[in-house]
Amino acid sequence: MDYKTMKQNSIDRRTFLKLSGAAGIGIAASTFGVPSFLHAAPETIKIGSIQPVTGPLAIIGQGTRLGNQLAVEYINANGGIKSMGGAKIELLLGDSESKPEVGRQEADRLIKEGASILLGPFQSDVAMAIATLAEQRQVPFVMDVAALDDITKKGYEHVFRIFITSGGLVAGALKYYKTLIEISGVTPATAVVANVGDAFGKGMSDGFLKMLESSGLPIKIVERIQYPLGIQDLSAEVAKIKAAKPDILFPVSRPGDSVILLRELYKQKVSLMGIFGPGSPGWYEPDFVKDMDKLAYHTLVNVPWINPSSPSYQRGNAAFQKAVGKNLDTNSAYAYTGPLVIADALERAGSTKREAILKALRETNFKDHPVVGGPVKFDEKGDNTGAMTALIQVQPDPDLQKRVKIVLPKEFAQSDKIVFPAPQLWER
């Protein structure tokens, strides 16, 4: 490089001073842009949001992060935390990469950056790592989504959960099954449980079976079928179901295999009173409802669910639609609830002091949320006593978007009739 080009590329002292001076003024102007004597500049309150934004759960994680962000935007647009002079909430973003140790490290970083509360993280294993960290660092941690019972069993002082527990999910399934029998006046005598053999499928169906047995309901499990995740053909399994002649089928499946299962049930003309998912994804997603059309009708599934008629859901959904053109789903709706619950607690705490926040969180009684469930209240373990599932059923409707309907509990129901027993698959 010769001297000339070097000269051109380098910055001399004067230029440097000019530039840095200008930059300094720029920064100062942007920070103190509004003359500070006009109003008492409210402090910002930092909340650390940790979601699995990259890695195997990236798509869901991006949705839950967006849920967190949109709720914070809403709170800030409505005057922030009024009891603290309209203090705005700043959401610090962390990415767990779906790994517990990364989640922990990110949580530690956000605490260092000033987070007074942690929020997240969609997965139970990451939640546990962060929960212990929260206890170590004495920072309140509000879980928007994470179901495993054990997380709150440790009696941690700083840990709160909005989502339903895995035990609550199974209990909900049994409760709705009983109600279904009462309402319809039909009692299935035999059943088949068919589940995918991964951790979720096995855990969920084991829990449900155990509860069903101890419930004293006159139902006999005539066959239990387990198949591996990612299976491409279920004809042999469905032949077994057909041979067992059950009245009702309890599937715990994943999106891919529910399509195969349902098509095979149709092909082999397995006669059933109905299909009841104790907590099974794959039977109500928009693509499934669209592709399966009439075959998807009348399936009942017990799930944590959105409450579309709530004003909070409508606000959140509008914002979500605007941001990504999709409806606010259950996970993102719970994520949307997180900052709302925190803001409500901060409003009552009037301070970012740990004790004040913890006290306010424990006294939470928050109704204006977008999911099916009672008011958010935390018990001594930190679990939400208002959390509940809904029973949903896919029902005929010319509008695809409106086919999935809440049928139970009554106060949230979008349709007052439950179709059970359902017409056979090939008679629709």
Binding site: G94, Q105, R109, D125, M128, A129, T132, L148, A199
Partner: protein
């Protein structure tokens, strides 16, 4: 040589006083650096020195973690003791795997498959044992005390992990200069020739895998009491298998300081870039950068960064 020791002593002195000036978060990065350097070093004993590629070292991490946690939860045994029980168990399983592999002369890819198979089989078995938390995993109680290997702040973890790493360096240094270590290198360079020269290759292969498994499993105990959660998929899974070998490969396989150098480069790189890009709303980009750097190192520095580092340091270190 003296200068090398002085430099290392200086580095160690700096590392020892670091907690005085760093935040808990920064200490967390260092803890992960030491942890992965330690695991990489343990893996290096087998793969770096004897040349038998193990892609299933997560197996030993998992055994160490699960054994110490199980003994602590069931029998109240302090993890300080439990981790050695885990080490012995890991060694035994390593010896069994080694017996199958070395006795029947499995080489290259076939040995790799054997190690993966052991890790995967163990993962599936643990996933179905209720006493080990099956597929929901084990959540550890948080009872901070020295006996329980659990602490409130990051500083104790910092010193323990630093101690682990330094110990592993000392062990490998002793090994490297010992007869056994030289035999292991001979096996790596040419197993048949070593055998022809009278090296009992089976014996030294078994020795290497036992030491490697033992050391790796101690790391598992540390992880368990740092993260407080064990899941079969994270403890025995493929991603840990790969995570574990990246650092020694990037740093320099079969060298004393390779795993340490690799970890000191890769771990902060992934941490800092994640934090940096997350703020700009470009999450995921850090993984791309991490991947590109790893590829570049493997392509252009196949012997690891340590070779270049030594070249740079030569003028300083060689002046007697």
């Amino acid at each position: 040589m003296n200068r090398t020791y002085i430099l290392l002593g200086l580095i160690l002195a700096v590392l020892l006083v670091l907690p005085l000036m760093l935040s808990k978060y920064m200490l967390g990065i260092f803890i992960m650096m030491y942890y992965y350097a330690y695991l990489g070093q343990s893996w290096n004993v087998l793969t770096g020195y004897t040349g038998h590629i193990s892609l299933g070292h997560a197996l030993y991490v998992g055994i160490g973690a699960y054994t110490s946690v199980f003994l602590a939860q069931r029998y109240g045994l302090s993890p300080w003791i439990g981790m050695f029980a885990g080490g012995v168990l890991a060694s035994l399983i390593g010896l069994f795997l080694g017996f199958l592999g070395f006795r029947f002369g499995l080489r290259g890819v076939y040995f790799v498959i054997l190690t993966i198979a052991f890790a995967e089989i163990t993962r599936l078995i643990v996933s179905h044992i209720d006493a080990l938390g099956s597929f929901t995993g084990i959540f550890l109680d948080f009872n901070p005390s020295f006996k329980n290997f659990q602490f409130k702040g990051n500083i104790p973890y910092y010193y323990i992990s630093l101690g682990f790493m330094v110990m592993s360096l000392i062990v490998v240094r002793i090994l490297e200069t010992s007869k056994a270590g030289r035999f292991m290198v001979a096996i790596r360079e040419d197993e048949e020739a070593a055998k022809a020269l009278g090296v009992n290759t089976f014996k030294y292969n078994m020795f290497a895998i036992a030491v490697s498994a033992f050391m790796t499993s101690l790391g598992g105990c540390f992880y368990a009491n740092y993260i407080f959660y064990l899941h079969p998929n994270t403890m025995f899974g493929m991603s840990l298998n790969i995570e574990l070998i990246l650092r020694p490969i990037v740093g320099g396989l079969g060298t004393l300081f390779g795993p340490v150098v690799g970890s000191f480069i890769l771990t902060p790189l992934s941490e800092v870039s994640r934090a940096y890009f997350a703020k700009g709303g470009m999450e995921g980009l850090h993984l791309v950068i991490y991947g590109i750097i790893t590829i570049l190192v493997v392509l252009f520095m196949p012997k690891g960064i340590i070779v270049y580092l030594k070249k740079w340091l030569k003028p300083i270190l060689s002046k007697e």
